[in-house]
Structures are given as C-alpha cells and as structure tokens.
C-alpha cells in the first residue's frame, strides 16, 4: 500500500527515539550492573558479579523487595475489588449515564500524581482531615498515628491512583461480551448470580488479568508514594534504587537492582499475556 521510502521515513524517527532513550539506557544499566565502585567513590569498569552477589546476600534488599511485592499485591487486590464492581456497573447498569461516569473514571488520571499523593497526606496526617473528624465525633482521643507514614498509607494511595487503570481494561472486556450471551444464560434458567459466575466473570478474565498486571507492576515500581507517605516502615525497592543512584552514589548496585526488577516485571508481563490469551475466545 505504501512505498518503502514512505515506510522508512515514517518509522525511522520513533525507532531512533526508542533506541536512544530506551534501549541505550538499558544497555548502559546492564553494563553498570557488572562494574564496581571503589571506596573513593569512582566507578571501575572491571566486569564482575559482585553487585549481584551482594544483592543475594544482604537481607535488607530481599526484605524490601518482598515488602514491595506485598504492597503491590494488596494494591492489586483492592483495585480489583473496587474496580470490578464499578466496571460491571458501568457496562451493564449505567444506562444513559454511561459516558458521563466513564469520563469520571478518566478525569482523576488528568490530575498530577503528586497532587493526589499530597491530598492523602492532608487527609491522613495527625492534624489531617480524618483525624480531626474522628476526634471531633469523639471516636478517638488522640490522632491515629498509623494512618500516615505507614505501608497502610502507601497501599491506600496507590489503590486510589491505580484503580482507574484496572477499571479501564475490565470495562473494555465487559463491553466485549455479547449481550445475547447474558440473555441466553438467563433464558436457560440461570439466576443473575449464576450468570455472573458462569458467563460474565469467565469472559472478562482477560480484562481482569490486564488490570491486575497494571496495578501490580505500576505499584511495584512506585517510589513517590512511599517517599511521601510511607515513612521508614513503608520503604519500597524503588526508594533504595533512587538513593543508590543519588545520595548513596552506588550506581553499579542500583543498576543491578533495577535489572533484577526489570526481570521480574518482564516475566510478569509475559505470564499475564499468556493468561490473557488462554482466556480469550473470539
């Protein structure tokens, strides 16, 4: 349809862009992760596995990684629990309000991440909206300290931020289900609950998998929410990477952790794609 020259001209700029700003940095990171740093803080280009050895030996990295995964898993779970019913309502029951409600799901994505994270700070803080309210109605005498600077605050904030990312693919999957299948199920004697478990849920699995992957992967790599709201107990693996590339000035170790994360994320995406394929039928 299009000439070779046209295709080349059109694809070359994005290809260059991706190579320069994605592939090259990854390659650099890959190199760095096998280099080392002297006590005098100079990077030595001698190839070795020391960084990876340190990663595997020091429990602090493992613990932080596990905590990050546990936080990401909870965010994923809560996003699905919030997002699925909402997507279901949007797709099946919203009627004329469908478009408006859909926009309401999208709009929070336009607001800066920082604004949303700071909003939770003002809500959860010891002089925050929630604590003031609780004391005002005499439910508590002192501000609840666990609300802010805790994994709880991180999970809450990330759930708030990433729920739209789970709603959208689930909604798309639900919209994809031919409505006559729902009618057929009803017609064959299935109650609405049976129809949900036997027809709607199985056919929306690809959307659920996509949404879950979004929530998990995006949360796993998050560093702003734990930085702003996590406190010492809410530190996540990306915070360590940030400090290694910054104040701690140990780029090689930071690069090694980053590559480890990359490996985890890529395997997850691979797994997610396999699952989605297995559960799509058209």
């Amino acid at each position: 349809m299009f000439s070779r020259t046209y295709k080349t001209v059109v694809t070359l700029p994005p290809l260059l862009w991706v190579s320069l700003f994605l592939l090259v940095p990854y390659l650099l990171m890959f190199c760095y992760s096998f280099w080392s740093i002297t006590p005098a803080q100079t990077i030595v280009h001698s190839w070795n596995f020391d960084n990876y050895k340190e990663l595997l030996q020091k429990t602090v990295y493992w613990q932080t990684l596990l905590r990050s995964m546990w936080i990401a898993a909870r965010v994923m779970l809560f996003s699905l629990l919030l997002g699925y019913p909402l997507a279901c309502f949007l797709s099946f029951y919203a009627g004329k309000q469908k478009d408006l409600l859909y926009q309401l799901v999208i709009i929070p994505l336009w607001v800066s991440y920082l604004v949303r994270a700071y909003a939770w700070k003002t809500i959860l803080g010891s002089d925050g909206v929630l604590n003031t309210l609780l004391q005002y109605v005499h439910l508590t005498k002192h501000p609840l300290e666990f609300l802010l600077y805790s994994p709880f605050a991180v999970v809450l904030t990330l759930t708030h931020i990433y729920t739209p990312f789970t709603i959208l693919p689930i909604y798309a999957a639900l919209e994809h289900i031919p409505r006559n299948l729902v009618e057929a199920s009803n017609d064959l004697g299935a109650t609405p609950a049976q129809t949900f478990w036997k027809v709607i849920l199985p056919l929306s699995i690809p959307g659920v998998v996509a949404g879950a992957t979004f929530a998990f992967v995006l949360s796993l790599g998050d560093f702003l929410a734990p930085l702003l709201l996590g406190g010492p107990s809410g530190i996540m693996i990306s915070n360590i990477v940030v400090s290694l590339f910054g104040a701690a000035y140990n780029w090689p170790l930071g690069a090694a952790i980053s590559l480890g994360m990359l490996l985890i994320v890529v395997s997850l995406l691979f797994l997610s794609e396999r699952l989605e394929k297995k559960w799509s039928f058209s």
Partner: protein
C-alpha cells in the same frame, strides 16, 4: 412496537410469526422470553401468569438468531448449561446431554469449542442446548437466516420433524414467507406491530383476510370493484357475489386464472389481454397480461404462451376472494 396483539399457542403446535423487518416479530418473541416487558397486557402459560416472572423462571427456551453459544464452554458444556444451573444430578445431566447431542447429530463434536464448528453445526448445538431442558415452549428467532439456501432447506425439514418428535410447541420467527408455509401448523402474520391474520398456511394462502396478507404470501391479483345488487363491477369485469352493496376488494391467485376453454362453466369470468411479460418458474410460468382499462393480471400457466400474443383468460367467480383493504400504516 406492538399494538393489540393477542394470540394463543396450542400444546405441541408449530406457530410461525411472519413479518417484514420492523413488524415487531422479534419484540413479540422477546416479550414471551422475558427479555422485554410489554407496557400493557398479560402473558399466561396454562394457569400461570408469566409476564411478572424473570426469564430464568419461565419454562421457555430460546434459540437465538446468532446462536449465542458460550464461547468459553465446549459443545457439551453448552448443552449441559441449563441442567447444571438447575443443579440436576450429574448422571442425569450426562445422559440427557448425550441424548440431545445425538438427536441433533453433534455427538462427534461434544468436546469442541463453538468457534471450531460451522454455522450449521452451531445452529444444531443451540437447538440441543434449548431442547435438553424440555421447555414447554421453544422460541426460535430467525434461526435459519444465517445459513445458505441449501442447508436452510435441509434444516427446515429437520427442524419440523424434530418438532414433531419432541412434541414441544415452537414459536418460530421469520421474514421468509416460503419458510413459514413449509414448516408451520399456523402462521401469525404481523404488520407494523399488529396482527393481520392468524391461520393455517393453507387457509392464509387460500383465504387471505386482507390485501396485505394476499400480497405478502405468494403472488396475487388485487381487483378493486363495486358491488351493486349481488353483482361485482371491476373495470370491464363483472361477476356474481353474495356480498352486500358497496366498494369491495378481491384477491385472485395467478393459478386461478387459466387460458379460456370453450367448455368452461357459465359462471366463469373471461378477460382478454396481451402477454407483456413472461417469467420461467420451472414447472410453471408466470405471465403478465395487460387487459383493457389498464388492468394488468398475473397468471400462472404451464408454458407455451409467447410474449406479445393476445390471449383470453378465465376464472371462477368463487376464486376471487374478498379481502379487507389494508390501511396504510406507519
């Protein structure tokens, strides 16, 4: 939209709802199934009022136009669906599913997914999935419209004999009058949401109630006339009638018009005209004959009439069936 539709379906009957698209036939079916609610009116099955019941409580099953097979379930699981949600014992499910698949000759495909079988096969599975529940009434929404002509004719015969075998009342929706004639015990002809006529195929063809019915089912000649003193005057034609005085409309089927013969009874009405068009229909031919006063008649002949020739046609007065004028409707 439906207006003032009232009909009764007998046990074990094959009733066809026939109508053009937009006549409301699918709406009627969806009201019986429970997917839509009528703004007024009632729906009864024996002594049980149906219209307040959700679809899953009605002992009515539907074969959907696009089959609506569950893509994530195998053929066998699709057929078992109704029995599973009704929580029937596993042994019974297995046996009834096997029977149903056997009845529609799909046993060999029991483990296949719907996307792996042809349209005709999906059709059979949809039928088995509905029939396995032994409904009191089976609704079929243009189930054959997606099939090609040959398969369609074959399925018409199969469906009809299957219906006789299981003895379940079928309500079959179609826009194809030929299909309706071949399969039905009775035909309900819908037009713009109103029932034009409900009768056996033979009756609806031979005794159409309205001009619309006469024209929708097969070919016909509509003769407009004026009755005065037991005699019809329609253009240059006149014949005896028992109708009261006033304007009248008659339907005359093309096969009731024959080439005039000398030994015809005296009651026969004769008309001369020129053959203007001839269409070959296999065993018979349809010819258009232009007569006096701009009257054009369609006649069915055995053939051998050349276009351009002038011929004389005749018909018995009793074959001109008085029909009601069909008012123009939105």
């Amino acid at each position: 939209m439906l207006k003032n539709v009232s009909l009764e379906i007998a046990e074990g009957e094959f009733l066809t709802i026939l109508g053009e698209s937009g006549s409301g036939k699918t709406t009627l079916l969806r009201i019986i199934a429970g997917f839509e609610t009528a703004t007024s009116g009632e729906l009864w099955m024996e002594s049980e009022r149906l219209d307040h019941q959700p679809p899953y409580r009605r002992r009515v099953n539907t074969v959907f136009q696009s089959y609506a097979l569950f893509p994530h379930l195998t053929v066998e699981e699709n057929v078992a669906y109704g029995l599973r949600v009704a929580k029937r014992p596993a042994a019974e499910i297995e046996q009834r599913v096997a029977e149903a698949l056997d009845k529609v000759k799909m046993t060999a495909y029991a483990k296949s997914k719907p996307s792996k079988i042809s349209g005709g096969q999906q059709q059979r599975v949809a039928l088995a999935r509905a029939l396995v529940n032994r409904p009191r009434l089976l609704l079929l929404d243009e189930p054959l419209s997606a099939l090609d002509a040959n398969l369609r004719r074959q399925m018409q015969v199969e469906l009809k004999s299957l219906q006789r075998e299981v003895g379940i009342a079928f309500v079959f929706v179609t826009h194809d009058q030929e299909e309706a004639m071949v399969m039905s015990d009775r035909i309900a002809l819908l037009r713009s949401g109103e029932l034009e006529q409900i009768a056996t195929p033979r009756e609806i063809y031979n005794r159409p109630a309205t001009a619309y019915v006469a024209q929708f089912i097969g070919h016909t000649n509509l003769l407009k006339g004026e009755v005065r003193g037991g005699v019809v005057n329609s253009g240059s034609l006149t014949w005896q009638t028992t109708l009261p005085d006033g304007p009248a409309l008659f339907s005359l089927r093309p096969e009731q018009l024959r080439l005039a013969q000398n030994d015809a009874p005296r009651t026969a009405v004769r008309v001369r005209g020129k053959v203007v068009h001839q269409a070959f229909h296999g065993a018979t031919e349809l010819i258009r004959v232009a007569c006096a006063d701009g009257l054009v008649l369609i006649a069915r002949t055995a053939g051998g009439v050349e276009p351009g020739s002038v011929i004389e046609l005749e018909f018995s007065a009793s074959d001109a069936i008085p029909v009601r004028e069909s008012a123009e409707r939105m």
